[in-house]
Amino acid sequence: MKIKKTVIFSFIFLSFLTACSNGSDNRHEPQSEADLKGLTLACTNGSYYQQKYETREDIRLFVASSEPDAIQAVCQGHADVYVSDEVMLTRADLMRLGLKKSFVGEESFDVAFAIKKGNTEFAAQLNDFLASTPLDDIINYWINEGPYVEEPAFTIQEGAEPLRCVCAVNIAPISYIGDGGEWQGLDVDILRRFAHSLGRPFEMKYQDIGSDIMAINTGKADVFSGCLFITDERRKSIDFSDPYYKCHPGYFIIDRSSEAHMSLGERLKLNFINENRWRLIVDGLVETLKITLLSILFGTILGIGVCACKRSRRKWLRKCADLYGDFINGIPTLVLLLILFYVVFANTGMSASLVAIVTFALCFASSSGNIFDASISSVPKGQTEAGLSLGFTPFKTFMGIVFPQAVQKGLPLYIGECVSLLKNTSIVGYIAIADLTRASELIRSRTFDALIPLLIVTILYFILAWAIRSGLNLLVKKRLSI
């Protein structure tokens, strides 16, 4: 019944989106910056282009939160021109999306890697590597489809720490997740060779720019990449390596001559089969499930403790439990997650998943503790007295008489809390955990298709929620035979 409803809902959703996404009108094709007059320009938040065009009154800006969003704005007719680094899209991507490069700007920028401020030794290592590597050939391979440059032989030392890289760009040919979930692209290729030259394994994580800079500053990551321009403003908070590439701005528009249209089957294939993208979804599903279930487990154990404190005869314990509840309730879960990851456990080497589990367990402890307390309180005192008067010990009275009734009353609330925890875990992408939501984002940013990945993820969350709900119901009812 529920599944049926979802299907119906999805169809309505789908047809609505298709209806919405066909708006575009006949505008002229700009050939220079001056031609941009009267057009709407899509760029990303915090980019150089945002600053540059903010002051031009004859241009409207569409500021998107990521490159794929900006590209989609153009594809769907919300904006006329997508402006970004000229190398942002491969020829294949352009064709598939029905876009074309209108013109290339005259400015040029130095592109470099960002590292932690003041880490001169590491900077020297990186610069030496860049100087001794055939960068032009590598660039030629990735940008102009030249011949592949063989990597020199290397050995990875046993037990060596990986070179931890972060980026905010998941677009070919800069850095993107290719076949089988492997990171590829110009930046990735250079950095992987650099890691190998140091005898260290390579690791790449995708998160938004703010988190990337924070990760570099707190030492959670070694290198931040992704076609970064060297600007004076950025120099204030991070250091740059020597530049390895010169980049021009590119202006992309809809190619009216192309007939880029895909059937639903093709879209499904593109989003899930190509480059083994389904594996991202599966891995994300496992990650989400792992974080959710472990958080529920530890959160429940902690919650029992919170409940015990709340019901304690000692006033200071009750006060502590109240303070804890107020503290957790007063902080958005996301903020707590960031604080724990970047401040509290910053230098402990704890994995991001573990920090996420700790965060959600702490939150879940507060809410489940409240539910336990309220459920136990809702069992009339007379039940305890009746149990005691029959000769049960206080413990047996609680376990045999009060507890089963409390469970009966509190179970729906508890299950609701578990399901909302599941949904809350979708914020872990902020600390670079590739959960289900992040998996859909990664796919979306490669295929520029919003609908299919989101739809699939919606359905998967729905099934997960249903599974948790019925699983808990079954478990508890079997255990307590109620």
């Binding site: 009339p380 007379g382 039940q383 007295e385 009746a386 149990g387 005691l388 008067s389 029959l390 000769g391 049960f392 010990t393 047996k396 045999g400 008489i401 089963p404 009734q405 009966q408 109620i482």
Partner: protein
Amino acid sequence: MISIKHLSKTFQNPDGSTITVLKDVNCEIEKGEVISIIGPSGTGKSTLLRALNMLEPPTSGEIIVDGENITAPGYPLDKLRRKMGMVFQSFNLFEHKTVLENIIYAPMELLKTPEAQAKEEAMELLKKVGMAQKADVYPSSLSGGQKQRVAIARSLAMHPEVILFDEPTSALDPTMVGEVLSVIRQLAKSGLTMLIVTHEMRFARDVSTRIFFMNEGIIYEDGTPEQIFEHPVHSATKAFVNRIQKLKYDIDSDNFDFLQIHTDINRFCIKYNITGKQDLAYTLLKEMLFTHLRSLRPLTFRLTHTELSGVTALDFMVEGLNESLLTDTARKSIRPQVKELIEETTTRGFRVKLII
């Protein structure tokens, strides 16, 4: 069997003030006694009962049961409570268990009675209280009286030596009091030691071998039912046992709610077990209000009943009037229907009292 020495109980209010409910209670209870504890509200009757099985640990004093001081710290209270059953005002059946499960739960868990035997015994007990038919239903579908009968069966299942009844009928609808009292009456004959806190005077007089009249936190008077009800020593006891139950209405216009009065009289008569007088009271009231006293408004009407003597009266009072306004025709019509017709002028006004 049980001896209580200098028992006192003081409660602490949240604002820090204290209230002493039991001051100094002393008594000896022998095996097989059926003791009713009566007295005004708030004089510690329930607290005394709850202190006996330590649900309400006393502030000071001692309770000796079979030679053992149960108020001593660390005394195994669960063992004590197994031989001292309790029946609560609010029944307290386990809502998540069926009637049968409610009864077999404690014997199976605590006495390790095999399930088959426990069930057999439970069915016996349910038959005894007339609830065998409802063995497999959940308590939520039972009426108050039925719940209380199951609760009694539940405490009997532990084969207690003593049963404490804490106002077993106070939470019941008047129509259901009878069924519960008759079960307790039956038990009283079986030789079980029983302590009953109750407001049912006739019941107390009929079933008890001994009465405690509690007042001001002590056992004010202790004696056989005859002593307490017929020849009480203290004036407070006398006033209490002869207290009058009242139903009172102020009638100031013809538009009063006669249906409501009718319903209330009905409940009143059931509660005090005088349903035989209900129709007469109703007829007389109607005749007086609509015929003989029709022009007299406002007036106050009272229905009174003295439980012990069984005297019931209808009482009409018109304030500020100093002579009877009953006509001879009215007197002639009323007199044959009542035991006595009293007309009197009081300081407040004129009163007609019909004893029925």
